[in-house]
Symmetry: D2
Subunit: 166 residues, 4 copies
């Protein structure tokens, strides 16, 4: 059991007229963290970005890649308004579920690593991703490399407390 901790730099434009990070932009931060952690970024190999070696980064993201990812569902709770800061926020990620052709990515957005007991949680979220074959446009099953890379990050899904009764 392990978690991924991805620092994500805010942009000044993430704030809206209320001078806090906009609720929609918060999902943009999650998208950035997800891409950083799950997609392979080839330039890491040529030495310009030696820090890019996420063990989970096994999806091919280059032009003409064989897989695209489709976001099927998202759920997010905003716990504390996130003000502007230059220090990156920390997006902690784990996998709430590994399915046949899909996975649930769980997140907590914090001001500092979760190991710090004084850290604040700004938001909790879940994204369901479906892997799609770029050529056919149809879902395709998780491969062995993917499952091997991702398995150890599987733990209980995030608990969404404010969920209304269905």
């Amino acid at each position: 059991m392990a978690r991924l901790e991805v620092p994500v730099q805010l942009r000044w434009s993430d704030m809206d007229a209320y001078a806090h990070v906009n609720n929609v932009e918060m999902l943009r931060l999650l998208e950035e963290a997800r891409i950083e952690a799950f997609w392979r970024h080839p330039e890491a190999q040529d030495g310009t970005r030696p820090d890019a070696t996420w063990p989970t980064a096994v999806l091919d993201a280059g032009p003409g890649a064989q897989t695209s990812t489709l976001v099927a569902r998202q759920e997010i709770e905003y716990l504390v308004p996130l003000g502007y800061r230059r220090s990156p926020v920390v997006v902690e990620m784990w996998l709430g579920h590994l399915g046949g052709a899909s996975l649930d990515v769980c997140y907590e957005v914090r001001d500092r690593p979760a190991a710090d007991p004084t850290s604040t949680v700004y938001a909790r979220a879940t994204t369901t991703l479906v892997l799609v074959d770029s050529a056919t446009g149809r879902p395709r099953r998780l491969g062995d490399v993917e499952r091997a890379a991702w398995q150890k990050y599987v733990e209980a899904p995030v608990r969404h407390r404010r969920r209304p009764e269905a």
Copy 2:
């Protein structure tokens, strides 16, 4: 029982590198529909926008307004990829719940009004909004004008089918 149908114009930049409306931008479209339908827009009175008379538009949005709205939670399911189009999409909205200081806004994003049986649903979503007193930063209760304006749009909440077990 009634629904609000708000046309929202896509922007070309709503598309991402997959050439479909990006999953995060879809929530931007919901934000636009919500602001159109719930906030009062004073310029409507001076004749420049006679079509802005939503019966539900009773929140004061001007500078120095007494109320700000806080998004506490969102849930969205993406059913069909939304390609680029110049015709506005139709965001159908209703209220899944009117609480003491909060409300649940439910949405369906369609290519044409729901009355047209051939219309396609691209996404279903729910947003929980909390009304906040701008001066104190604390939640404040829905007022009589708001409740009167919004009551008839209350119906059963959107059913999110893909929700994982908690």
Copy 3:
């Protein structure tokens, strides 16, 4: 000599933390006006958008289109801060230059049509577009249909007054 007047709807998210339309977003509004006026939008033919018949809309924008447009240069002056409003702004456009493979689009962003002498100009701008053959990635010359559609919108380029000495 004629000008194009394209209404563009602001989004609430166009505002930044200063509660005015952000300087970068202003160029987004220009992009929207340009796409509306110059690109052909096929859904106009199926009756869903009868108002889309710009005489200048002759570039093919569909998937697999033979032409893409490359923005080579932009220049913009911000004259008056643009506050939030629900009434669309009016982007007045004309062509400052029709070249062999490029054109200069000139803009004035106003609160109401230029014919109204009380209208306010928020920004003046120029974009140089290069037409590119999608298959080869190389510039291609303006065709007869394009030149015929665009010729009558050519007039003197916008005067940028604050341009520093080069």
Copy 4:
């Protein structure tokens, strides 16, 4: 004579449907570089971001700050399409002009520092900033601290080669 080199992380959403960094988003990258280099970011002092010590970062950016900056003018040339990459781009900045109440910020966006002769320039740009007193909304003169911090970064302005005749 010196230049500032600010690394700016792309976001996947900076790409548009052409799968290159969108022309408008390029100005967003410049905004980020400018804010990083010119605004004081107080959290740097509490140890969370010791690397934030730009000598030029003397504008106060906190809530209730006495100065806001107004973008009066921008000019940008796009030289080479910028594809997606996880390694930050390098925004090289200098000051083309220090005026009484304004300054011209010049930029080159590169894939690696300018000292590397194999680096590619994607864009060249200039922004004219006006310092505004937040209380009065009127321009205010550059102060001694600002002038002292910024003076050594003044050099010849960027040469915009494609500028049309006025």
